[in-house]
């Protein structure tokens, strides 16, 4: 039997703005680079997690989006530790891959760094979120040419049906050079918002 799914909470981060459940939560008054914006948002929301500053851009974006979502999810600590995280993007870890490539490009001056190389996988941000909240649930990272909410819904539904998770943090987290966008949402069997393409696409594009 197919289960109905709903969205409890959703969060969009793009253009130096954070939107939570359709309402603006934070907008930078400056028009900074992603790294300056990420730092500003981190301070504005009162996070205290020094490891944040070691992360690459994709992990920072994943971390911030998940943080805003989970802080406003109303989930108990126990439920939070058991959520599944199913994220996706287009550029995988290419933003950091290019940085690693720069360190090895010149054979005369080849100094690859473990602290960059470790971020050359798109699921490291998921790992950072899991460490932060002690989440030991299901994980998967998918790559598509564009945001694919229908696929994420299918996959989330299968996790619910197989009783692998009760709540699934789904979404899109992409960083490519200076462009970035995160749209994450919490899918459960109960919730306020519909988990359908029309609702998701409307809020993904913030129209």
């Amino acid at each position: 039997m197919k289960k109905s799914t709903y969205i409890q909470t959703f969060c969009l981060i793009e253009n130096n703005t954070v939107v939570l459940n359709g309402k603006e939560l934070f907008a930078s008054k400056l028009s900074p680079s992603f790294s300056a914006f990420a730092k500003e948002l981190y301070r504005e929301l009162g996070f205290r997690y020094p490891k944040f500053f070691k992360m690459d851009h994709l992990s920072k974006l994943t971390f911030l989006a998940a943080e805003v979502l989970l802080q406003n999810s109303g989930l108990s600590e126990t439920d939070k530790k058991q959520i599944a995280i199913v994220l996706s993007n287009k550029s995988a870890s290419l933003d950091t891959d290019r940085k690693h490539q720069e360190t090895i490009q010149d054979p005369e001056n080849c100094y690859p760094s473990p602290s960059i190389f470790v971020y050359t996988l798109p699921n490291i941000g998921t790992g950072e979120v899991c460490i932060r909240h002690g989440i030991q649930g299901e994980n998967a990272f998918f790559v598509f040419s564009e945001f694919n909410p229908a696929f994420l819904k299918t996959y989330a539904t299968s996790l619910l049906q197989l009783q692998k998770a009760k709540h699934i943090l789904c979404g899109w987290v992409d960083v490519d050079k200076e462009a970035y966008k995160a749209f994450v949402y919490l899918v459960s069997e109960e919730g306020t918002f519909p988990n359908d393409d029309a609702f998701i696409n409307k809020n993904y594009t913030n129209n």
Partner: protein, 380 residues
């Protein structure tokens, strides 16, 4: 719940361009790992399992012009071509294409590479495979570090169980590149000998390259077949590049897969483990297997044959397991001499005949990810 089966498989590796050739080499304990002196890849000598590109081009000629494709694409296309031919299912709008890779065409980031940098985007690679075989559906790419290959099998099973698809073709691949060699080398993670999983003298990974593919379907094949009966993928929530000291995520993944499969520890005949030959990974696995009461189950890592093939490894290693089930043969865990983990595990030391009905495949990777999948042989 909908039952899901594996019907065809193909491995393209330095040991051969078909599963049969690969299994023959493994039966003879022949390894793909050799010493390489290629300063374009790494300044110092290194051990790796690398496919001879001239041989690959020769094999690829029946599919297309070898000049027009990257090495990874040729490996993946060659492998998938064999699986499609063997699978005897039609590619329709109910067929999904699932691609597993960690780094894809990463070498195209190098300005000296003849191919466009755009091919470094994983969807660009996926579309080239999609259009080559005429798949109708949008390709699905799994890129979840070193569990990608086996996670793709779990994903295929779950997608088929939703009823949205009838068949899924999975192709998994990664190459040995300057990108990964330099990175793991910076981590001091590369072994100065061919890797020795679980050995007391192990000191790191050996990299390898391969492509592997399978057909996963809801249609029960005639005769003996392999069913996917349980899966789990849990995070350690411990460290992004170091495994959990308690094996928590792997233990939970195994428990989740066993619960779904409704099998106990005594029903598992064989474990195809991850066994990268790093000090911490192999130790972590031994702890997790003991917590799951699997310490007496015969176990191997095939990294001693291929090295670590990253996004291909989970699927490649599962295919070796399918052939164990088909032939009722346990294959040696190459590179093992004296056990070098703190908890007992039952490493397969020589090729032996044994009934294999149910087997567990596991993998773990950066980001704290782990995956376990259980397969069962169904007699006709």
């Amino acid at each position: 719940m909908q039952e899901v089966y594996i019907t065809a498989d193909a491995i393209v590796s330095p040991l051969g361009f078909s599963s049969e050739e690969n299994i023959r080499c493994i039966t003879e304990e022949q390894s793909a790992i050799t010493l390489h002196k290629n300063t374009a890849l790494l300044p110092s000598h290194f051990f790796a399992g690398i496919i001879d590109e001239a041989e690959l081009n020769m094999a690829f000629q029946s599919l297309g012009n070898p000049e027009g494709y990257t090495k990874l694409e040729k490996m993946m296309l060659l492998s998938l071509q064999k699986t499609i031919l063997d699978a005897t299912v039609e590619i329709s709008d109910k067929t999904a294409l699932l691609i597993s890779t960690t780094k894809g065409n990463i070498e195209t980031l190098d300005p000296k590479n003849p191919f466009s940098e755009e091919l470094a985007y994983l969807p660009a690679l996926a579309y080239r495979i999609k259009s080559f075989f005429g798949f109708a559906q949008e390709p699905i790419i799994v890129s979840n570090a070193c569990v990608s290959g086996i996670l793709a099998v779990a994903v295929a099973k779950q997608l088929l169980q939703t009823g949205c698809y009838e068949n899924v073709f999975i192709v998994a691949g990664d190459t040995v590149s300057k990108f990964t060699l330099s990175g793991f080398s910076a981590f001091q993670a590369i072994s100065d000998t061919p890797c020795k999983p679980y050995s007391k003298t192990r000191n790191g990974i050996t990299l390898g390259e391969a492509a592997a593919s399978v057909c996963v379907t809801t249609k029960k094949p005639n005769g003996n077949c392999i069913q996917i009966i349980g899966n789990g993928s849990c995070n350690d929530a411990n460290h992004i590049s170091g495994p959990s000291r308690t094996g928590e995520g792997l233990y939970r993944s195994i428990q989740s897969a066993m619960k779904e499969a409704e099998v106990g520890a005594t029903e598992i005949d064989f474990i195809s483990a991850h066994g990268t030959a790093t000090t911490f990974n192999d130790e972590m696995e031994a702890i997790a297997f003991n917590r799951a009461h699997l310490e007496t189950v015969p176990l191997h890592s095939v990294k001693g044959y291929y090295g670590h093939t990253l996004g291909a490894s989970g699927l490649l290693e599962a295919i070796v397991g399918f052939h164990s089930m088909k032939k009722n043969i346990l294959y040696t865990s190459l590179g093992m001499d004296e056990l070098g983990v703190s908890q007992p595990i039952n490493i397969i030391k020589e090729v032996s005949q044994q009934n294999v009905t149910t087997f567990l495949k596991t993998a773990s990777g950066f980001g704290g990810c782990n995956t376990a999948v259980i397969f069962r042989k169904i007699a006709h």
